[in-house]
């Protein structure tokens, strides 16, 4: 069950907004398709991210994939422990495996609610 209080991008990032801060990660669907994860690069605290642009990269055994930001703003926190504990992504993609927190100034107009995202994943197969 995916959280209903999150919004999702078709590129499989999720975003939970609270008090002007967006917590961002990748969905269970993304993790299952990437399979064995190897490396994760996240931005530094204090850096800027932009809607629709890459904020990091993740490598599985077979592919490097970019991570796309659903918001624009300043990175106010980074899950520094995650790159050394990539198994969290499979166990708790919407919890312990959050990636960054962004004090945002703009949101993507293309975010999906959970029902629309579920349908998108089903269509992708």
């Amino acid at each position: 069950m995916r959280p209903k209080n999150c919004h999702y991008l078709k590129s499989h990032e999720w975003c939970m907004i609270e008090n002007g801060v967006a917590t961002i990660g990748i969905s269970d669907y993304a993790v299952s398709h990437l399979s064995d994860l190897v490396f994760l690069d996240l931005p530094r605290k204090g850096s800027s991210v932009t809607v629709g642009e890459s904020f990091g990269e993740i490598e599985s055994v077979k592919a490097v994939s970019s991570l796309y930001s659903p918001v624009s703003g300043e990175v106010v926190d980074v899950n520094k422990d995650l790159p050394d504990n990539l198994e969290w992504l499979a166990k708790e993609p919407f919890g312990k495996a959050w990636m960054i927190k962004v004090k945002f100034t703009a949101k993507s107009p293309d975010m999906l609610d959970v029902a629309a995202y579920d349908a998108h994943c089903k269509a992708e197969g």
Binding site: D36, K62, A63, V64, E124
Partner: protein
């Protein structure tokens, strides 16, 4: 932007002369970023060079001979010493190869059919789980695992992939098929183990085009870089791929 009717159902085929490492990686990134539809680029390396996987540490290769050209790929995986080989870069929309695991199976099965058709009869795909990735193995060909294309001599095809979602969802799949064993990675298998004649490379290129178009259910169309692709490749070749900060980013 939607693909034009003329592009739909076709595989652009670009047969390039061997080029230096920066140009090769720049062209592949251009085809990934601004290319339309599906394209299969076949090329070689002159001078021979080492490519690092996107996440590999430059410092782990400090022991390479000083004169060895080194470039960082956009794709992941381990390092490859590109000597005499047939290299391919397939770029396409992910709708053509939606799942990473299935995309490897489809392309590796096609590569095996191509290899067998030119006489490398013992080429096959290994069953079982993929090999464990770095940092244990810094060379792509060092530890064959499930899904890899091998002969009894070792790994014959190195593969790696990059997937992007912006500006459009696209895939870049790199493959290197060893013709002759490179000096830095003598543990690899090579086409020359069974086909050492001068015609082997050209026959293998033709076979790869045939088998990839068959696997992807596309029709081949001889192609060249568009003006947009060439302009971006020229900029990337002069910039990112000759930039020490990109090479040493890790």
């Amino acid at each position: 932007m939607r693909r034009s009717a003329a592009q739909a159902g076709q595989l652009r085929v670009l047969i390039d002369v061997p080029a230096d490492a920066a140009w090769n990686m720049a062209v592949d990134e251009a085809l990934l970023s601004v290319g339309r539809g599906a394209a299969l680029r076949l090329y070689g390396w002159s001078p021979h060079a080492v490519s690092l996987g996107y996440f590999q540490r430059f410092a782990d290769f400090a022991d390479l001979p000083a004169e060895t050209p080194i470039v960082r790929r956009l794709t992941g995986g381990g390092a490859i010493h590109h000597g005499d080989e047939v290299t391919f870069a397939l770029t396409c929309d992910p709708a053509l190869l939606p799942r990473i695991d299935a995309s490897y199976r489809a392309l590796h099965d096609a590569a095996v059919r191509a290899l067998q058709s030119v006489g490398v009869a013992d080429a096959h795909v290994v069953g079982g789980a993929p090999a464990s990735p770095r940092p244990e193995a810094r060379w792509c060909f060092a530890e064959p695992g499930g899904g890899d294309v091998v002969t009894p001599r070792g790994k014959l095809l190195g593969s790696a992939q990059r997937r992007i979602a912006s500006p459009r969802p696209r895939i870049l799949h790199h493959g290197s098929i060893v013709l002759k064993r490179p000096s830095l990675t003598p543990f690899v298998a090579a086409v020359a183990d069974t086909r050492a004649d001068e015609d082997a490379a050209a026959e293998l290129r033709d076979a790869l085009v045939r088998e990839f178009t068959h696997a992807l259910r596309l029709a081949p169309r001889a192609s060249r870089l568009t003006d947009e692709e060439r302009a971006l490749a020229t900029a990337l070749s002069a910039g990112r791929y000759r930039d020490a900060s990109f090479l040493r980013r890790r």
